[in-house]
């Protein structure tokens, strides 16, 4: 079974804080993704990575950055959190065109 884990299920941060969301997959997948999921807006792609140290902007990269130093780990960074970044964040890895999702991190920025 593919396992995608995210470091936190719930996170509360203050405006202006630097926030790290971690995602780890255990199946040696090359592709990894970060999405945010908002009611009425669906899943929107923030960034994706097709290999170690390689990254591509998704549809809404503003205010975010990513890091992929090792194949199994893909980190999402909010340099200075803002209230409009309050959301559910989903990480996924991909193999044979199927995406495998983590459980999500619900981030609240106060």
């Amino acid at each position: 079974d593919v396992k995608v884990t995210q470091s936190s299920r719930y996170l509360v941060k203050r405006t202006g804080e630097k926030v790290f969301l971690e995602c780890v997959q255990d199946m040696d997948h090359e592709n990894m993704f970060w999405y945010r999921q908002d009611p009425g807006l669906g899943l929107r792609l923030i960034y994706f990575s097709y290999d170690v140290k390689m990254k591509e902007k998704g549809d809404i990269p503003e205010g975010y950055s990513v890091s992929r130093e090792k194949k199994e780990r893909f980190s999402l960074i909010l340099e200075s959190a803002s209230t409009n970044q309050t959301s559910m964040y989903l990480c996924a890895s991909r193999q044979h065109n199927e995406q495998f999702f983590g459980p999500g991190t619900r981030l609240t920025v106060l």
């Binding site: 592709n31 899943l43 591509e56 065109n97 999702f101 983590g102 999500g104």
Partner: protein, 109 residues
């Protein structure tokens, strides 16, 4: 640019009634299309993909290139089908994936 449209945010049907969740897409090449499902308190997971042409949990979806649609259908809804359904398109360089806004299916007992 690639785009996925799911026109209904909520679809309510009675148990045993047919279900059709609509999905239209915009893409200049030959896309790969998928349906993902998220049951309450569970992870998002793949339901089916168009290249497989398979039926999963009684659901089928046919790619209609002329109408640029990939509607999800089931002849008889069951209560356990209640969930959030997302249509997704994969294409372009690096096989970027674009999701629709999702349709919440509510099956009324």
């Amino acid at each position: 640019a690639q785009r996925v449209t799911q026109p209904e945010k909520l679809l309510s049907v009675f148990k045993g009634a047919p279900v059709e969740l609509k999905c239209n897409y915009s893409y200049s090449g030959s896309p790969e299309l998928f349906w993902y499902v998220q049951y309450s308190r569970q992870r998002l997971q793949l339901l089916l993909r168009h290249i497989s042409r398979e039926s999963i949990k009684g659901f089928t979806a046919d790619l209609n290139k002329g109408e640029t649609s990939f509607h999800l259908k089931k002849p008889f809804a069951q209560e356990e089908d209640s969930a959030m359904y997302y249509c997704a398109l994969q294409g372009g360089g690096y096989q970027k994936v674009t999701f629709g806004i999702g349709t919440k299916l509510q099956v009324i007992p």
